[in-house]
Amino acid sequence: MMDAITIRARFRDRGFIIDDAFATALQIALALEKPLLIEGPAGVGKTETAKVLADTLETRLIRLQCYEGLDAMTALYEWNYPHQMLRARLSEIEDASIEEREAQIFSERFLLKRPLLEAITEERSPVLLIDEVDRADEAFEAFLLEVLAEWQVTIPELGTIYAKHKPRVIITSNRTRELSDALRRRCLFLWLPYPTLDQEIAILKARIPDLSERLAKQIADLMQTLRGLPLQKAPGVAESLDWARALMNLHRDHLDRQAFEQTLGCVLKVHEDHAVVGAHASELATGLGESSESLQSGGYSLDTDFGFGSVSKKSR
């Protein structure tokens, strides 16, 4: 049994900085053997949590990526039809009885295990990551509830398979849809916000050890400002890391206006957001270490694109 301090230390060893509340939530989820539902904005490390947790516990990570139209069979198991057909044809010449042939065809050899069944049959309890559960539909959620409650799967041809060890479950959601109360009630809940300034500096330094102190501080500082702007897609931690790596590759040891514009594509992923950043240039100026007057010569001076996102003024 790991306590919060150990979890925190082990996550830190793997370059993943978490705070006390997060560590306590993980500790309780592990101790109570309940699924942990993690919600938060995109790019704060929800999926990464499961990966690092599996690494920390020295166990396998089994991932179920949810998407619209995901059905129970894709998540649980499927029979290998072509293989079964072939076997049925080939065994016609044998003298085996129908029952024997049936038992052959419907044996575990012809069973394709999908993530949920795989997690149940694993020898050591694995970390099961159910990613972006909000993308799947309500029907799948109901099915998931059943599996999470019972940890057993019934295959009509084979019988019921019971879990040898309860998997440790991490469920993530991006809140594109409100999850049902029933699912929420069965899970422990953690809201994972964007990191604070100090946390982000620590993350940058842990993940990119060569990064200079000054650059890390500048990036984290600018990120805090950017997340405060009314952007359509606010940058997450992944963007900070990309940005830091990009600047390292350009051999920059600090951020200035030119470097900022060159590498803005690492941070802003929507065209309209560039206009927003242009409009708030003065707020970003302090982060770039310059006075606000010098800004007027460059940068995005887009006034309007008439709402179509296709017309842009010349930037210089």
Binding site: A4, T24, I28, A29, A31, K34, M85, R184, R185, P230
Partner: protein
């Protein structure tokens, strides 16, 4: 204020407080989990206890945000009715013995509780949040009940809008409205008894029942695409008479299709889909969560911009019908409103504006907000009663 002596009682009454005053959904299962969680963490570490209970008891982001306030109020605050003469009695009390942790001491009244809170304050830090000590049970209960009077949700209940029962006629009209949005087939293939495409996999699977001979062919078809309805209801005071009708329309839609999202806006935007869905199934008709969004002026442009930024990407598409219910009396800038309406129009299949004043004889949509928004509206109508809804469901146009 620790109302009760032992840890289990404290936990139970804390859960009761969360349930009653903050609208948490806590059942026996959650309470048991909370007790088990407290067994694991270090009880003398306030932050650990706080995070542990938050993880177990909070179910949504809103819950998690409210939790800290509730935790402080229950475990760390002094009783609300601390007055001057009790403060005056304090030094004497403090000298008289240990700070109230004595389990065997005589039962003390509210004064003692106040004293303990004061002493904690003087020390600069609380005792362990769960440290059990002796306190009068009834007093504790009285204090908790007194706390209910300043609950964030309880106060404005009288102003919370109530939606009258959604009857079958409304639902029927909503179904017509949903059907009116013709979207054509989706890209996905789905098994169907009579379809356009041969389903080799299912045919082979079925053939196993007939000894490997594919006797029964299986087919696939493309399911119809379902439209999404986004209802934005103006919650300003000038709309207070009409907003319940708009919410009733939303409830009827929620019964006709599952792809409905409902928001209210006045000075800020608020998602009320869950409440509307609950109302449509007949569980509750009063919108408690809405109370604080109700009343006051409206900044329509700013609210629509906020909607576009937070939800636009995932809710709007050509298959979405946006229904705005507002009288168009806007206190914000018209540039913001124009830009927001433009984007709304561009990114959705239809923009329906329901203006309750349209039924008023002699009304012309000349108010600044309304005249700004009108060019981007595809269907301009009013729904003040069932007849209006039926009319809308027959005249809606989607590009």
């Amino acid at each position: 204020m620790y109302p009760f002596g032992a840890l289990p009682e404290n936990l139970v009454s804390f859960c009761a407080l969360l349930r009653r005053d903050y609208g948490f959904r806590i059942g026996a299962g959650e309470m048991l989990d909370a007790a088990r969680a407290l067994d694991i963490v270090d009880l003398s570490d306030q932050h650990a206890v706080r995070s542990a209970l938050r993880t177990v008891l909070a179910g949504t982001r809103d819950d998690a945000a409210m939790f800290d306030g509730a935790f402080n109020r229950f475990f760390l605050s002094r009783p609300p009715t601390l007055d001057h003469d009790r403060r005056a009695a304090l030094p004497h009390e403090r000298d008289s013995g240990p700070s109230g942790e004595g389990e065997e001491g005589p039962r003390r009244g509210r004064t003692t509780e106040a004293t303990v809170a004061e002493i904690e304050e003087i020390r600069g830090e609380g005792l362990g949040p769960m440290t059990p000590f002796d306190a009068n049970e009834e007093e504790g209960q009285a204090a908790t009940v007194a706390g209910a009077s300043y609950s964030p949700l309880g106060v404005e209940n009288s102003e919370a809008p109530e939606v009258s029962e959604v009857n079958d006629e409304w639902v029927a009209a909503a179904r017509v409205l949903v059907r009116r949005v013709q979207l054509g087939p989706s890209r996905k293939w789905r098994a169907a008894p009579r379809g356009r495409r041969f389903d080799l996999r299912r045919t082979l699977r079925a053939s196993l029942q007939t000894g490997g001979e594919p006797l029964t062919p299986r087919w696939m078809t493309r399911p119809k695409r379902q439209p999404r309805f986004v209802v934005l209801v103006d919650g300003s005071r000038s709309m207070s008479q009409y907003a319940p009708t708009a919410l009733k329309l939303a409830s009827a839609l929620a019964r006709a299709t599952s792809r409905v999202e409902v928001f209210t806006f006045s000075t800020g935007l608020r998602r009320v889909t869950t409440d509307v869905q609950r109302a449509s199934t007949g569980k509750t008709h009063r919108f408690h969560d809405l109370a604080s969004a109700w009343g006051g002026g409206t900044t329509i442009g700013a609210c629509l911009t906020e909607f576009l930024r937070r939800f636009g990407a995932r809710l709007l598409a050509r298959s979405a019908v946006v229904i705005v219910a507002s009288d168009g009396l806007d206190v914000g800038g018209s540039d913001t409103l124009r830009a927001a309406m433009q984007t709304l129009r561009r990114r959705s299949g239809a923009v329906v504006w329901l203006n309750p004043l349209l039924d008023t004889p002699g009304y012309e949509p000349t108010a600044r907000g309304m005249s700004t928004a009108k060019p981007f509206v595809t269907t301009f109508s009013s729904v003040n009663d069932l007849a209006g809804f039926v009319r809308l469901s027959r005249t809606l146009r989607v590009r």
